[in-house]
Amino acid sequence: MGRKILFVTTDQQRFDTLGCNGGTVARTPVVDALAAEGIRYERAVPQSVVCMPSRSTMLTGQHPSTHGVWMNGVPLPVDAPSVAAELHDAGYRTALVGKPHFEPFLDPFGKFRENRVAREGLTGTHRGFEHLEFATHGAQGLLHYAAWIAAEHPEAIGMFYPVLDPTLEVNAMGGGDTGAPQARHNEIPREWYHTDWVADRTIAWLDSLGADDDWFCWMSFPDPHHPWDPPKSELGRVDWRDVPLPDGYPESASEREAILDAKPRHWRMWYDGTLVSNYEAPKHWVPATLTADQVREVNALNAIECELIDEALGRVLATIDARGWGDDVDVVFTTDHGEFQGDFGLLFKGPYHVDALMRLPLIWRPARSAGVAPAVVSRPVGLVDLAPTFCAAAGLPAPAYMQGAALPVSDTDADARRGEQRVLTEWDSELFGVDVHLRTLTRDRWVVTAYRPGYVHDGSEGELYDLVDDPLLRRNLWNDPAHAAVRADLVADLWDHQPPTRHPRLDVLAPV
């Protein structure tokens, strides 16, 4: 009998939404306890800041350039490598419960298996997972949660905020108390909400296992990704009027605009509503219209969703303890990418490689039986390191196709085992004639982003931030002569370490 693995992901969650990371709005005692007992990473970086490429990195252990999912809407090939398959082949029982998103959701032709399994009445198998029960951000669509709501609680379908508008664009409609985009007071009873459903279905699957089974369960919560529509019954947890404005939100419009003007053009163009370069933000919402109260309300609703996730995870961990597995389970908690949540006067995400989207919560509580001491790791790590970590926990060598390395258990371990520690992030998008291409390196105290030519970039642009002296990433040092040598060194390092690129390039088959 080996170590069992509970892999917990959320969707679009910021680093600072956890109490253990200094967050003060949401109460997250369950994850905080895992951090206290395990390893808390202070600089965990995604390889992409949107869902499909990032999730594909977690599954394959490869960078987006290599696995080929270079933007949302590009399906991960069904024969792509999978850590779940590695574990299953080694005798692990495997499940994926919650949000998958290795394949596009908008799928009228029913081409993608993720969208077919529920309709066909199935719960398996795909990409090495023998058990599948899928959910996403609401009750629409083709996944198991939507089918369950339709069958058991059809009156709840219309309670959720509609993620897409009637033209299938990301919805800009305001709601809540402040008219914030993608906010709603959701009448759904808490026990019908997808967060509790994901935990319930995870518990049901765990209960179906034999006591001696080794297992790998990816529990994938759709929240706190927008829409911010937690059950109305829970709104009393956090009164938005009491929520402080985030440090990253400059209250003065002139200050916001000056900061944005020091970054490459598409930042300010998006803020002003003159260019929406990607599908993931509402096309018809202008960030410059965002008010301080809307920032407060979005942060409050987000915090409520984080609290519900924390409690749902607590129920799953209680089940694990009740099964007698408590000492033999590795728990990894993270997310696929971050969320602006008011930073720079912005919401949502896009081709913007700053901490709001790139600094992720990551907690690893190794199985107690492994005897790993609690630690805080400050060295940069990537989501590309997760798959090798799962292999290591299972006692398997990491396959050669994986490009990361097992997570360090301390800074000393990181320095001894991983050498120069750099993490790469990439962005490519091409949507109706608008293309954006970014390559980013996180190393030492620096984050550097080089731009390739695109719709509004000539390839000379870039961003350089000092994470120590400028933790809010407000001063772009790219054109600062005093940092020319640092920039040159980092950019050379960035280009020297680009991952292999998949050929031929995969096609975009849907917007998301």
Binding site: P108, F109, K111, L168, F432, V508, P511
Partner: protein
């Protein structure tokens, strides 16, 4: 209006490819994700209704079926679309110095709302690849059906 365009090269004479593409009732035999299609005449105009793999029925109006130009065009008239025009062109690109016949099939989708161009356009790429696959294999449901249509016409 947003545009999405895909193409494939097929090692077959354009006339042979057109024998499949120009038959609107055969679309489901080479467009993965379309389970059936029904062609009817209504008020002198040809219409087609397709049913997708998710059980969605989409009505279409056939706009152009030009065997000389080898161009097929149709509009999806479902309420979700403010505007839609699909164009399939079969081009003969056989060069003078080549012995093998070669054609290119271009499948363009112009749609409003813009997102629908991507959603539908993603399906058209799969269709082109299936068409290419069947011609490369020398057989397949669409080719067999087109052959049957041709034989029936010859005997009829």
């Amino acid at each position: 209006m947003a545009s999405v365009r895909h193409h494939v090269q097929i090692a077959a004479p354009a006339a042979d490819v057109w024998r499949v593409v120009g038959r609107p009732e055969l679309l489901h035999l080479w467009f993965p994700g379309i389970t059936s299609c029904t062609v009817a005449e209504q008020d002198g105009a040809l219409t087609r209704t397709i049913v997708t793999g998710n059980g969605v029925a989409m009505p279409e109006q056939i706009v152009t079926n030009d065997a000389l130009l080898r161009r097929f065009q149709y509009r999806i008239t479902a309420p979700l679309f403010r505007n839609h025009l699909a164009t399939i062109d079969v081009l003969d690109i056989t060069g003078d110095d080549e012995q093998a016949d070669t054609s290119v099939v271009v499948y363009s989708t112009d749609a409003e709302p813009a997102v629908m161009a991507l959603v539908i356009g993603g399906g058209t790429l799969g269709a082109l690849r299936e068409l290419q696959r069947q011609f490369t294999a020398g057989s397949g449901p669409a080719l067999d059906a087109a052959q049957a249509v041709q034989e029936a016409a010859a005997h009829g």
